[in-house]
Symmetry: C2
Subunit: 173 residues, 2 copies
Amino acid sequence: MDPYQTILSLRAVRSFTHQAIPTDVIGRILQAARWTGSAKNTQPWQFVVVSERQMLTDLAACGTYASHLAGAVLGIIVVTPPGYALFDAGRVTQNMMLAAWFDGVGSCIASFNDEAQARALLNIPAPFQAYTAISFGYPHPNDPHEIEGQPARAVLASIGRRPLGELVHWEQW
Amino acid sequence: MDPYQTILSLRAVRSFTHQAIPTDVIGRILQAARWTGSAKNTQPWQFVVVSERQMLTDLAACGTYASHLAGAVLGIIVVTPPGYALFDAGRVTQNMMLAAWFDGVGSCIASFNDEAQARALLNIPAPFQAYTAISFGYPHPNDPHEIEGQPARAVLASIGRRPLGELVHWEQW
């Protein structure tokens, strides 16, 4: 696939097959994370890579819309120090999702509303934070149009993307 | 270039040639922004695209390490509502930088310490925030090893990237 089209076609995938992700693909996802740029190159991140079924199921209970983790082949938890690292966490998450998608692996972000519980499960020490995890797996051919049992339209602010005319200002607001 | 190698090879470029960026390349950068995923698809962003030399120079004075904006061919200011949108701002920024790099266009992030001044210059209304801008341009062949007149090593937390062994935890911390 054309790399630019790969960027445009990246969508949240919440339903996965049982197919294992090859070790070299996992390695590429992690290298994409490692090489992500960050403020002053602080690289404010650590990653916990989870494949154990019970842990994925337990983590799925730590967020309101995190249930997709229970069906993921792999979960990567993005661990950051407090503060502006949230911006860099977004960058590194995007890089991992794109690197996976280049290999045909779908992904979805989970936010841990119960962040303390996620940290306890994973044994992550203070002051690190673990608000974000990513589910990975090959897309299920019948990815449902529901999220947590509700129609997607009831959960998402909108379907699709707003046109550029509503987003872009030229030279000034 | 192999798309995966493009992800790995993305680096901050702070020095640019005067070569104009073609309109279709700018369009691809903006479409990459538009199609970026966000929490519940809220798409919490607006963009101000600046090519006027004086405005770029004025914006360069709004941040401690923002001087690269003065030499950029194009600046894109990422405008967000307050709050968790910072994570999504990181995602959309990464997507734009990657889309540009696929076309050979380098980029660097500027953080506006004087965010109020940046908003005033660009006429951005409350409660939107404008903490982040991206400089774009074709990389200058003699990209200096200095940042704001200081050796890069004095500004950056480190050079290069830490090895995966220092970043990755398997199954648990």
